[in-house]
């Protein structure tokens, strides 16, 4: 007895166990294909874990235990330099346009900010003197080093920076660090 399929003339067959039907009916084909498919939309975790691992490794490499020593003024783009030393936490003097901004801690340890024009640096001179006197009172056995950080925009006129350097040298602040970006 040969196999007969579809609507052809067929002989009677004893139905038996079948893994799949012999008759190729379109509706049956559709039902069979849906049965085999997993209808849940799965989330592929492998690429997600790959990305997470790479991100974590990158951010760990970038991690700095010293953190930000100071915030760069938004109007300042620091000049680049290669042969630099780590920046330390010191009073910060920013030269922004024709103004000088001096950030320091006052008597009670709260941050204070002084801003004045480069043409008259009276407040700056006063603040520098006060800070120096305070340091000498608190540490009478130590010599005053006069550590200070300066930040200025790369396009700033160096003549303006020289004015500030003159005032700093006059008041005894001689260990100057120019902030740069790596």
């Amino acid at each position: 007895m040969g196999e007969v399929k579809g609507t052809h003339k067929r002989s009677l067959e004893v139905p038996g166990y079948r893994i799949k039907p012999k008759w190729d009916l379109p509706g049956l084909r559709r039902r069979q294909s849906h049965k085999g498919k997993n209808s849940e939309a799965g989330l592929s975790l492998t690429p997600m874990i790959d990305i997470f691992s790479i991100l974590v490794i990158f951010l760990l490499m970038n991690f700095s235990t010293t953190g930000e020593i100071f915030f760069i003024n938004k109007n300042i783009k620091l000049p680049p330099a290669k042969n630099t030393n780590p920046l330390e936490s010191r009073p910060l003097l920013s030269i922004v346009g024709n103004n000088v901004v001096f950030e320091m801690e006052n008597k009670v340890g709260l941050p204070t900010r002084i801003e004045e024009s480069l043409d008259q640096l009276h407040q700056l001179k006063l603040s520098l003197e006060q800070l120096k006197n305070r340091h000498q009172k608190l540490h009478p056995n130590q010599s005053f080093k006069g550590d200070i950080n300066i930040q200025a925009d790369e396009s700033a006129n160096f003549g303006n920076v020289k004015k500030v350097l003159r005032v700093l040298t006059e008041k005894g602040w001689t260990a100057i660090s120019f902030a740069t970006r790596k």
């Binding site: 000049p79 330099a81 780590p86 920046l87 950080n149 660090s177």
Partner: protein, 141 residues
């Protein structure tokens, strides 16, 4: 067990941990690495003032608006700017020659024009420090 199943490794706490770690590291990441070029103005005063030793050759780098002028006592070497920027290659070369001539010296006086940009000054200063002339005295005149 079907091939590829992850019954043995529970990924949920793994992903939780990674998410928290990434959030923390993103918040604490330092994107701008700021460093410093140090200068001691006491050094400047002694180089420029009357404390200069007799017989010691006076080495100076002068940054002008159109050229770099290097002086070694009486000798003057001029290097015009290239594309409006200081010729750092020529400067480095000359500093190397000075290093061979004066192996024990590390001090040099750095004078600039007032119209020079701060960025150019830092560039030249950086070259001086990189060429092992770390004791730079900047003139404030």
């Amino acid at each position: 067990m079907a091939a590829g199943s992850s019954r043995n490794l529970n990924l949920t706490p793994f992903i939780d941990l990674f998410s928290v770690l990434i959030c923390f590291l993103l918040i604490t990441a330092v994107w701008n690495q700021i460093e410093a070029l140090d200068i001691d103005m006491n050094q400047t005063s002694s180089s420029l003032g009357g404390n200069a030793e007799e017989g010691k050759v006076h080495l100076a780098v002068n940054l002008l608006s159109d050229q770099l002028v290097l002086t070694e006592d009486g000798a003057v070497m001029r290097y015009p700017h290239k594309n409006k920027k200081p010729d750092l290659a020529a400067l480095t070369n000359q500093l190397r020659q000075w290093r061979q001539k004066y192996p024990e010296r590390h001090d040099v006086v750095f004078n600039t024009d007032n119209q020079i940009s701060y960025g150019s000054m830092i560039e030249v200063f950086d070259s001086l420090v990189g060429s092992d002339w770390g004791e730079v005295g900047i003139s404030t005149e």
